[in-house]
Amino acid sequence: MNQFRSGDAMLTDWRAAAGRFEAAVGGAVLGQDRAIRLLTIALFARGHVLLEGDVGVGKTTLLRAVARALGGAYERVEGTVDMMPTDLVYHTYLADDGRPRVEPGPVLRRSEDLSIFFFNEINRARPQVHALLLRLMAERTLTAFNREYRFPNLQVFADRNRVEREETFELPAAARDRFLMEIGLEAPRDAGARRALVFDPRFHDTDALIAAIPGAVLDHAALPGIAAAIQHGIQASPAIEAYVIGLWEALVRPGDAGIRLPGIDMEALVQGGASPRGVAFLVRAARVRAWLEGRDWMVPEDIRAIFPEIMGHRVFLEPIYEMRRASIVPDLVRAVFETVPAP
């Protein structure tokens, strides 16, 4: 099936590299193949990722493993209630000579070289911090010390646990819309993986586990270029375009598309959302998946594989249904795919 043109040899090489990357991360993080695949897609789609899950399922480990395998500079902050935007930008202290010093904070410290900025427990930070992050994510720039810093390779990975709600700040819709994906992480179901995670001492020392991953499997500096090549190299047929538009329409107006969910007023279910940016992200990520699967054209399966993670958090439900979001949105997405014809 690999009918790439000769000029696309670079893409073929990179696909092999992506495979190595997945294998490297998968060696350290067990039973999360789907999350690793989605993270790989996000890397090559140049999108930011929000990981969501229970405490201790390996969100941080997964992101550290990805950062390690990707190479490049990596910074990490922990969200807290008293964190202010300036804490990200600069750091003040009294030096040995007794003079106050101002030094670049976590974001600026590695400046242009920063490839992964990892925001732990993002929902513990205040909205002011979210606002700073918004710009960082959307424009990959930051103004500080009277100049503008650019982060061409930057990708923001964030995680939040969904157990606690005290002292947390819900991410504003605008911030959530800027994340390419929201990946829900669960403990692996596979008994073998569970046994290994619990009994194999290799998985107990996270630092050693991460250190064992071969570093810099991918050339992080070349990622933006290869990402653009993928976007140009993967074709979208008119049929797939019609399919994506059909999915979009059905998601926003499920009642009109003939979707019925038990116990839900379909006309009043979806309030809005599913922004054009979201659908553009969807196609972007679908192209990456098609490339990872060894095709230079998209198929509906590419869309379906990434749809829940990309579109799920962009749909805004009526407040009455918002509390049951975790069960309604997957049902809605499944119904959309069972209804919209392809081709």
Binding site: Q3, Q235, S237, A239, I240, R295, D296, W297, M298, V299, P300, E301, R304, F337, E338, T339, V340, P341, A342, P343
Partner: protein
């Protein structure tokens, strides 16, 4: 008070008892012009017989019967019941005639022929004017009739006590056709109702048959294969088969779902290779670089549709 035979009534076999109120001085009495009691006959009644009586009261115009003064149906004496009373009024010249139709029932078990008297009663009439109400009373006199015993008082002795009884009456053969027709009609209605219920509940033979999407698709594919020069024939054929597969699966089936579909519908497992090839061809045609060297010809598609339709029938 006289009892006179009445000419026309005699012709019809009725006996008329005419009670004329002759006590003229009382002005209230003058307002009642006549009282007549007519019966079919005053003799020949047995235990349980109904005795009809018709009482005609002629009063001044403007008077009407006070309903409460009429005799009430019920037991009058231990041997006599009044069964029904009905009243009709009509104008007769310058007078008003009130006709009471009374039905009595006699329960007197007579041992010999004897005369019994039905008691009389009083009927009150009212005339209401601006100056007040005037009442008038009409006395209906008692009258008599003869009752007779049903059987001998001392019948001759018989050996078998059953001989005292009359034999049972013979019942003639009835005509069962009306009942048969009714029964048949009811049975037909019941069957019809049951059929409706069975249809509603999708019992046999209304059990919802699964549609046969592949049969429809196979027909369409055959039709398309007959005119291979049509430009969109290939795409239409692929679409027709897609629709059939979607209908069979109950949802939109993508190429990657094929193993799951075959697990859920083992009947089509024999066509796994053909279906996989179809999905690959469809993918290339609709989403990919176009049909490659392994393109499905319309004939191949039609024969795949036939085989799937056959598998569908067997399922």
């Amino acid at each position: 008070m006289t009892i006179l035979p009445d000419g026309p009534v005699l012709r019809t076999g009725r006996f008329v008892l005419l009670a004329a109120c002759l006590a003229l001085p009382a002005p209230a009495e003058a307002q009642v012009r006549g009282v007549e009691v007519r019966t079919p006959r005053p003799f020949g009644y047995f235990l349980g017989d109904l005795v009809q009586a018709q009482v005609d009261l002629v009063v001044e115009p403007g008077f009407r019967v006070q309903a409460a003064s009429l005799p009430q149906p019920g037991a009058l004496t231990y041997w006599l019941d009044l069964r029904t009373v009905s009243v009709s009024q009509s104008d007769m010249g310058d007078a008003r005639r009130v006709r009471l139709a009374l039905t009595y029932q006699n329960f007197y078990a007579a041992l010999d022929a004897r005369t019994l008297e039905i008691p009389g009663f009083t009927v009150t009439f009212v005339s209401e004017s601006e100056h007040g109400a005037t009442t008038a009373k009409a006395e209906v006199p008692p009258w008599s009739f003869n009752v007779s015993p049903l059987r001998e008082v001392q019948p001759p002795a018989r050996d078998d006590p059953r001989d005292y009884m009359r034999p049972d009456g013979q019942v003639g053969p009835g005509d069962p056709r009306a009942f048969l027709m009714g029964a048949a009609g009811s049975a037909a209605l019941a069957l019809l109702g049951f059929a409706g219920l069975a249809r509603d509940r999708t019992w046999w033979p209304f059990r919802a048959r699964r549609g046969r999407p592949f049969a429809i698709a196979a027909r369409r594919l055959r039709a398309l294969a007959r005119e291979p020069e049509a430009a969109t024939g290939q795409r239409d054929a692929l679409l027709a088969l897609h629709h059939a597969i979607d209908a069979a699966a109950g949802r939109r089936l993508l190429a990657d779902d094929l193993p799951g579909f075959l697990d859920a519908h083992p009947a089509y497992r024999g066509e796994a290779a053909g279906l996989a090839r179809f999905f690959e061809a469809s993918r290339r045609t609709f989403f990919g670089p176009g049909a490659g060297h392994d393109a499905f010809s319309l004939g191949d598609l039609a024969s795949l549709g036939q085989r799937l339709a056959r598998a569908e029938r067997a399922a």
